[in-house]
Amino acid sequence: MATVESNPSTERDAALRTVAAEFSQRIAAERAKSRIIRLGPFLVMIFLVIVMSILVPGFFSFINLVSVLQQVATPLVLSMGLTFVLLLGSIDLSLEGVMGFTGSIVALLVLNTKNSLDLGVLGILAAVAAGTLFGLVSGLFHTRLKIPSFMVTFGMGSAITGFGILSYRGIPASIKDPMFAQVASGTFLGIPLLTWFALVVFFIALAIERYTAFGRHVYAIGENESVARAGGINVDRIKVTVFAWSAFCASIAGVFGAIKLNIGEVIISSGFLFSTITAVVVGGTSLVGGSGGVVQSLVGVVIVTIIQDSMILLGVNAYVQPAVQGMIVVAAVALTVARGRKLIFK
């Protein structure tokens, strides 16, 4: 019997050390990549500001700064909700539906042209609560009936839009409440009030992400759901809460929309779903869950807004703009996604 020993013991030990060393190299590479994804978007933002300031006439001006800050408000609020959903590894396609719905009914609850209600702040709270409730329902459908989040929220979004249109029976209400007009035009330190409100939402989201067990659990679920479950985390409850939070943010954005346009109509939300997803992904929150965060999303929102703003200043055809956005989101995902060689994508 011909037995060949390929590796004498000492040589084997030496070789084994390199197999273990190669393994640690892999981990180092993984670490380096996560650092790039963390810092990359921030550098892109700085780069864009510099380039646009040089290339785009009128970009580097106080008026444009205020304009950008104003444009940031609504997508920032929306992205604060969506970030948590993406961190779970899920998606929320009902943002536009919820936003449009809340914007529609808030107009009916405050002083308006269609009915005699005049609930003021209470009306706003009621509208936001109603919108949030839809998120709760989506979350329950998702976890209890085990329907994929994209399908549940896709369907819910459509249904909610329908409820929104039904609420004003085709003819939207105009808002007559003076408070709305004041907020719409109001500024504090030269910055629009809505932007301040959006920043408040941002800091609330940041506090939830960084300083609560809930925030950490969202990350844990996104990283490895089964281990999180085995570790005693109530995964379903966290998921439902995240969808409710996302709908809450979308509802706030709906109120913003009503304030800005002075009218309660579902189309106030049109286009925001796509730009919000773009912003969150460009910021560096992974579509497969577990990495990213609200600070990244803030950066992402600023990047997307700067690009939109610059295209407007440059007079880029309005129909070309969504195409540019579409390419940006695909490129961002292509750059950041972890490509396991054997992973199957559907």
Binding site: A20, H217, E223
Partner: protein, 506 residues
């Protein structure tokens, strides 16, 4: 040292069709390290899963600190003082060390809904230094730690969860050393000694016998789901353990050894210096026409990864391999198939058959050209061909139109084999072809392997058991920790013994 911390009596575990464990007794004394050794499939992992309450035993009872021990899940086991460090690490890479240690147990650090990270980090620091890990910052993200440190953190976490309530606790370590280097293994062993000094006990599972002998006070040996020996540290040497692990062998007739073909001289597949970073390196061997080359090795030895490269599922970082003298560069299994290498994957239900398609469609899946007329599939040819194979291989099905989903494991495997043999392949890679298959169907599969070699096909086999690999193969390659340790012939009349092989595997 005499006080018994944990005791299991007559533990048995049956899965549909197989017995994973039977009549196992285990005793762990306070402050000792108990080693478990055995081949893959000997039942070590099943026993660990039962002790940690991840699975429930079919028979038997357990005791912890003299009280009956029974938990419905890992959490309940933890509360009763038993914790497990899994082979694949279960830390959340995107969270900090302290957050990982207290994941799901943040209540104590919460005030008005917000967590006091300062306090959690301080507590994390204490948890780490309790087992002598003073140089790990609890605020660092796990992603930033090297693999060995992650392992230590995981142990600290489990120890902290299980707590040091009166009388110490029991920590199960499943292959903790498999990806550690020498220095890191030293550190781990220091850790283990520190833990046992404090009165807790460890169950240590590793395929490296020298390590088990070094660290354990007593060693239980497993073979085919049974305990074959209990050896004290004083009496333990590797040869004794090898012998207890392999046991006697069954007859060659079962494996159709008499039909083993004498391989031709013509080399059909040649592998030269193949390597994938971090998994295996410098792997070289040749497969001749009509030869069965068996690759032996434990899980993690790199044999699965070698096959993944050969069948186009993965790309090598170094080295080359040649089919019929032509160098192969595959970017997908489809390329490999085109070249003539087909693999029968281990995860049959997921990778081997398409459950929702019919038996006939599955059989012709890799060679639809043969049943097509002008690029359109001919239903009649498809079914006709399937009928032939159903008859030849004795596949138990209601007909060629039945979906594979509803077939038994053995019959589904035969469908896979029909697909393999019916195609024009030069090399077939069989990854655990008899896993989850009943005894009768196994014999038929051995017969099929013999038929393939008679046709001149070269076979690379990863057997389900060592005995199977030795008996079916005409040449053997033994791998350990990503390296080829030995290569030997296994002719019909002079098969190497399992002992010969295990020596190189462990």
């Amino acid at each position: 040292m005499e006080e018994v911390l944990f005791r299991a009596r007559n533990i048995g575990k049956e899965y549909p069709g197989t017995v994973a464990l039977s009549g196992v007794d285990l005793e762990v004394r306070a402050g000792e390290v108990v080693g478990l050794v055995g081949e893959n499939g000997a039942g070590k992992s099943t026993l660990l899963r039962i002790i940690s309450c991840v699975e429930q035993p079919t028979t038997g009872s357990m005791e912890m600190r003299g009280q009956p021990f029974r938990g419905r899940n890992l959490l309940e086991a933890n509360q009763l003082g038993v914790g497990m460090v899994f082979q694949e690490q279960s830390l959340m890479k995107n969270l900090s060390v302290a957050q990982n240690i207290y994941l799901g147990r943040e209540r104590g650090f919460r005030r008005l809904g917000f967590i006091n990270w300062g306090r959690m980090n301080a507590a994390g620091s204490r948890a780490l230094s309790a087992i002598g890990l003073k140089d790990i910052s609890p605020a660092r993200k796990v992603l930033e730690l090297d693999f060995a440190t992650r392992q230590m953190v995981e142990i600290a976490k489990v120890l902290n969860i299980v707590g040091d309530r009166k009388g110490g606790c029991l920590i199960l370590l499943d292959e903790p050393t498999s990806v550690l280097n020498d220095a890191e293994i030293r550190r781990l062993f220091e850790e283990i000694k520190e833990i046992t000094r404090q009165g807790s006990s460890i169950v240590f599972v590793s395929h490296r016998l020298s390590e088990v002998i070094e660290i354990s006070d007593r060693i239980y040996v497993f073979k085919d789901g049974r305990q074959t020996a209990l050896v004290d540290k004083a009496n333990a040497d590797e040869n004794l353990l090898y012998e207890k692990m392999v046991g006697r062998s069954t007859s060659g007739e079962y494996f159709k050894v008499n039909r083993q073909t004498e391989p031709a001289d013509q080399v059909i597949l040649e592998v030269r210096g193949l390597g994938v970073k971090g998994y295996f390196r410098d792997v070289s061997f040749r497969v001749r026409r009509g030869e069965v080359l068996g690759i032996c090795g434990v899980v993690g030895s790199g044999k699965e990864e070698v096959c993944a490269v050969l069948c186009g599922d993965d790309r090598p970082d170094t080295g080359q391999f040649f089919l019929d003298g032509t160098e192969c560069r595959f970017s997908s299994p489809a390329d490999a198939l085109k070249a003539g290498i087909l693999s029968v994957p281990k995860e049959r239900r997921e990778e081997g058959v398409i459950g929702t398609l019919s038996v006939a469609e599955n059989i012709s899946l890799s060679s639809l050209g043969a049943v097509s007329r002008r690029r359109l599939i001919s239903g009649r040819a498809l079914v006709g061909r399937a009928k032939d194979w159903i008859r030849t291989l004795n596949i138990k099905t209601s007909g060629p139109r039945e979906s594979v989903e509803t077939l038994s494991g053995g019959n589904a495997q035969k469908v896979v084999f029909a697909r393999v043999i019916s195609g024009e392949n030069k090399v077939v890679i069989l990854n655990h072809p008899t896993r989850g298959v009943d005894v009768g169907a196994k014999e038929e599969i051995y017969q099929l392997i013999r038929e393939m070699t008679e046709k001149g096909i070269g076979v690379v086999l990863l057997g389900d058991t060592l005995e199977e690999t030795i008996s079916v193969s005409s040449r053997l390659v033994v791998m350990k920790d990503g390296l080829v340790m030995a290569e030997m012939d296994a002719p019909r009349l002079a098969k190497p013994s399992q002992l010969d092989i295990v020596r190189y595997m462990m």
